[in-house]
Amino acid sequence: MQRMNLQQGRPFANGYSSRRVDTVVGTRTESKTQVRKSASPNFVSTNGTRVGRPTSPSRDRLIYVLTCLVGHHVEVHVKNGSIISGIFHATNADGDFEIVLKMAQVIKDGSVRERKSDHDSIKKPQPMVIPARELVQVLAKDVSLSDEFTPGQSCEKRKDLMIDSVISHSHHLETERELAPWMPGEDDPECPELENIFDGTFDRKWDQFETNEALFGVKSTFNEELYTTKLERGPQMRDLEKIALKIAREIEGEETQDLHLAEERGFSYHDDFNLDEESRYSAVRREVNGSGLRENENSDMEAYGSGIIAGSLGLATSGSCSDSLSKKNGNEAQASCNETQASSTSSSVVEEACLYTLADKGLGLSSVDVSSELKSDCIARSSSLEDEIRLDDNQIKDQGGKSERMAIQDSQTSDDVNTSIKSEEVSISAPLYDPSSSGQGNIITESSDSPVRGKLPAASESVDPPIRQGSSTSSSEYAHAESNRPFLSPSTSCGSLSSEKSTLNPNAKEFKLNPNAKSFTPSSSVRLHAAIPDGSFYQASNVNAVQHMHGLPMGVGVGPSFSHQPVFYNPQAAQIQSPQAYINPNGPVYGQQMIVGQHPQFYYVQSYPPQEMPHKGRKF
């Protein structure tokens, strides 16, 4: 006997053998067509190989219904009164329709009149075949006959492992289930204290606010309209509703590239059907377009911070800067940034500076390409550019110049290494570009960078120009000062550092060093500028060839990129451990201490507010 075994994907109706995994085959229509065309005996049943038996539309319907039952839980009643329950597996469509069930069990044994109270006769579920002569009826509940092709239904597969979108069925809103009131089941734990709730009727007359007012004189000021838009119910209500529904449907029906949205809406992801669960539900999405990757900002920032530890404070290569900036582009930027850091040691300081700056800014060119190219450019130019970069950092403060910088950066993108400081600046400043103004890689082409420069000084706040690169923080500060980016990721330490305006506690008391404090034992005279307190935060170790020491106050305690000459630094570093050694970098300290160049003891802690250093000087 030929069995209609649908699992094997044999040639389906009418001998059509092409079956793709997710193709939906219109068996019925095809069958019907065939029937009309000719009564060719070859046509026939769904296994496609059988010859001879003529079909009819009724038979087709029957076969269709049976096909829809595959995998469904059914009950089969047989002649002797027994009932067998199992999962419908196959039927003999060519023959007399005997039923094959899997995981079947006899629930009710008709041959034995009394129901046994113990289950001694229970057997393991097994496949069963019910011959046609025994068959009385087959019952199936909640069968979906797929009259309408709903793409979402293909997603409803597993009951044991359900994902949210399946559970919530957001695209099935119109289907209503038959609701039954919940009654405590037999086995439910009894909670006597709850029983009364089900007994009483819902008292609509009791107003809790009234009662409260009467009892305690508490006036309620709740006004629902404060929290929601009032719906104007009126004759237009229906129309408005319809329009709203229509819009909702349109939106939900939109094709989307986003994997998750597509799944919610029921579209199968058009790209690649080989996605496993990980890539579908848990992997980090790395997309080139800058859309909505802000959520990566925080993580990126931290990554940057940690990456920075290794590097010295050098001038960050413009590439890295731009890379960090383009964190908006997601991990790629981050990765490249990290790579940059790893690769460029000498220029790491700059790198960090830029990174911080960039991080704060939350800037990023939307196009990763730009950043990567810049990066390569920058790396090539690393150390020699320190000076220029320094300057640039100072100038970075200007937010307004962003667009220009952006432009410049853009122009750089395809340039080779040869460029001048200008490119450097550009790269550094580029990060400062206000992301909001940058589109998806749209870089406003501005003419020259002179305007950029021009603006930079204007933007400078309290920081003196002499403050150099070491202060990537400073740069970032400046930048922040100018910018009120709402989107700056707050988590980045850089961000916190630099945003002297936005996140600093205006009421914080300025830290004043108390030279008479006990635990502070400087090796030499206490110098304000020994704001080596930074050192306490940072790992003083990883200093590379960079000569500038730069304590980047990273609120998160990321290793500061200290670059200093060990000879000088270390002894003092130890002392810095004491809280008293913490010097509030604000104020005059800097003016003297900021030494551009080779001074080993330059610590920049410019606008490092006390509260930014949680582990020092602040007792939480």
């Binding site: 994907g9 939906v24 597993r158």
Partner: protein, 178 residues
């Protein structure tokens, strides 16, 4: 059933019928295949939703029926599609689910034992080992599943199982048999 009544067994008709086994059914005909004598009925109200209760009945078991009314074809023949892959997937899922559930049933155990197993499984990880209930992989409860039959495991676990077993037995007694 005789071959007559062609109109009454047409697709879309709503019938009320009684089978020789005593079932009373009311539903709408989806299909009727004469050679095999199978009648496909859709039961329940004609809900708009895609879900229906389907009954395939061998027409020779119809004792009598009443033609109620004629209604539309419950399936639209132009829109019938079958997603084989989906069906296969569904079947796999159902089988998996059924297997999981089958694991919970003890083979050759009394229904009382099964009730105890079910009650224990609500709060403790349990599985069957022939006719022994194994709790948390260490405590074993063998027939007749009384507190003194609780063996093994750490004292704490053992006590816990004893307590739960005791409680469940009492509950079952209160509920009464069957």
């Amino acid at each position: 059933m005789e071959g007559g009544n062609g109109e009454e067994l047409a697709v879309g008709c709503v019938l009320s019928l009684r089978t020789t086994l005593g079932d009373e059914i009311e539903g709408q005909i989806i299909a009727y295949d004469r050679p095999s004598n199978i009648l496909v009925i859709q039961e329940g109200s004609s809900k708009a939703g895609p879900r229906r209760n389907i009954r395939l009945l061998k027409a020779n078991y119809i004792q009598d029926f009443t033609y109620l009314r004629k209604a539309e074809d419950p399936i639209d023949p132009n829109k019938c599609y079958i997603d084989l892959a989906g069906l296969q997937a569904r079947e796999e899922a159902s089988l998996r689910q059924a297997e999981i559930e089958a694991e919970r049933i003890g083979v050759g155990v009394t229904s009382e034992a099964q009730s105890i197993f079910d009650a224990l499984s609500k709060t403790l990880p349990v599985h069957w080992d022939k006719t022994v209930i194994v709790v948390m992989n260490e405590v074993r409860v063998s027939s007749p599943y009384l507190p003194e039959n609780v063996i093994g495991g750490t004292p704490a676990a053992n006590d816990r199982v004893k307590k739960v077993l005791d409680f469940e037995r009492k509950r079952l007694q209160v509920r009464g048999p069957g």
